[in-house]
Structures are given as structure tokens and as C-alpha cells.
Homo-oligomer: 120 residues x 2
DNA sequence: GTAATTGTACTATTACAAATAGTACAAAAG
DNA sequence: CTTTTGTACTATTTGTAATAGTACAATTAC
């Protein structure tokens, strides 16, 4: 059972929230290579949304090579997820750098930023 | 002359991009207290957008006390912008925290993140 | 064999927010 | 008197997300 929390307050589209969640689970290892994930219809029912929305999310994930779908068999996490992980990390590191530039531009010191990272 | 770059690829609404840009300029000091900024119609023309969109942005900025509008006189940066700067920092710190959560979710260690902050 | 489940592929429709278009008014400046 | 300012509406357009509904072929389960 996958746990996906949808936030309807968030501006991020539902299909994208699904993509992000599954990508994250793969990254962390909650979802492992070759593992089966819910069918389009099943996940749609679970989340109380339309199957087409799940389909859209799965299409994107398949395009990113995070998952692979076999007609009549179901949908599975890809064999090889390492590259996916790396690309994702690189993307998010870029975002971090941008955010740090913004903060430094506002006069925030490295010390303060590091405190946040250490959760203090 | 204010320089505002609109990114139509960005999912962020135009009116929000305007809000963010002006807030940032105030925070950094590019726009100073009591300084006049373009009229709604003028900025709309400059940016090639509808005046109503600028009006919406100005309404939000006025609500945040970043600017003050005087009918027939024009629109000005507020007298007191210190609070604005503080609020802005808090917002950006929140964004940083979010981004760090994302990275930790991807299995990135604090060490790696700190390296980025120190520009290594 | 038959029913159910799977991914896939459409079209049509609804819903919502952003953005535009247009008009109008009162007040102040030139 | 004309222009410019902020303000305040309504109506319309546009784009995208999401839903609704139907259909097909292949496979699985019984």
C-alpha cells in the first residue's frame, strides 16, 4: 500500500503531486525496483480522484523511466532507478542554490542558514 | 525605472511575480521608502499586460503594507519598510526549510547540503 | 469458456483561476 | 479644460486541471 497525501490547498496539480510522491518514495527506498504499484483504477479509487488523473501521472513517471507499465499485468517500478535518483537530486540541488542566493541577497548569513539545515 | 521580468513559463501568476519582484527590491534597497513607483496604467503598458493585473498586484502589496496608494497622486513605497524586510526573510526561510526537507527526503545528507551553502 | 482486471486511447464536459476588455467616476495636477 | 491618478465595477476570454464516459485488446482468475 502506497500512502499518498493530496494537498488541495497546494497550487501543484494533483497529477504532479502523485509524480513527486512516487519519485520521492523511489528515492528513499520505500518503493523498490521491480516492485508493483497500484493499478490506475485502484489508485484513483483510493485517492477518490479520476483514473485519467492517475493515468497522466503514470505517463509522466514512465517518461522519466521511474516506472514501467505492462498492459494487463500492471505497473511496476523500473529495474534501474539509480539514474532517476541522480537526476532528481541534481534538480533539487539547483533549487537549493537558487534559494540560498535569494537569502544571501537579503543579507542572511551562512551561519543562520546552516542553523536551519541542522534544524535549530 | 523599475525592471520587472515576467516569466510566462513559470506557473506563478503574473500578479504574484510583480508582488514578489517589488517586495524583493524593497528588501534589497533598490526601492526606498517614500519613493514613487509607476502608476498602474504605466506599469501595465511597460509590461504589456492589462491594468487590472497590475491593480491586483498593487492591492496585495498595499495589504502587506509594502506600498501606499494616494488617489490622483500615485503609488509610493511605504515610509516604514523594516517590517516588510523581516517578513520577507521569514518567508524565504520557510522556503529554505521546505527545500531542505525535499533534499533530505531524497537521501541527501546535511554534510552535502552545507557544502552547497559554503559554495564548495 | 467466462468474467474480471489491466493498460491504453479517445472525446466531451465541467470547474476554476488568471488575464483581458471595457466602462465609469471622483479628485488632483498641469 | 484636459490629463492623470486610483478605484470600482461587469463581462468575456483563455488555459489547464480534473472529471465523465466509452471502448478495445490482452491477460489473469475461477
Amino acid at each position: 500500500m502506497i500512502l499518498i497525501n493530496l494537498d488541495y490547498q497546494d497550487r501543484t496539480p494533483i497529477y504532479e503531486q502523485i509524480v513527486n510522491t512516487i519519485e520521492k518514495y523511489v528515492a528513499v527506498g520505500i518503493l523498490k525496483p521491480k516492485e508493483q504499484i497500484p493499478s490506475i483504477r485502484e489508485l484513483a479509487t483510493t485517492l477518490g480522484i479520476n483514473p485519467n488523473t492517475v493515468k497522466k501521472a503514470y505517463d509522466i513517471l514512465e517518461n522519466k523511466k521511474v516506472i514501467t507499465s505492462f498492459s494487463t499485468k500492471g505497473t511496476y517500478i523500473s529495474d534501474q532507478t539509480d539514474e532517476v535518483l541522480e537526476n532528481r537530486k541534481k534538480e533539487e540541488m539547483k533549487n537549493l542554490k537558487k534559494q540560498i542566493e535569494v537569502l544571501k541577497g537579503l543579507g542572511v548569513t551562512e551561519q543562520e542558514i546552516i542553523k536551519v539545515i541542522q534544524g535549530k
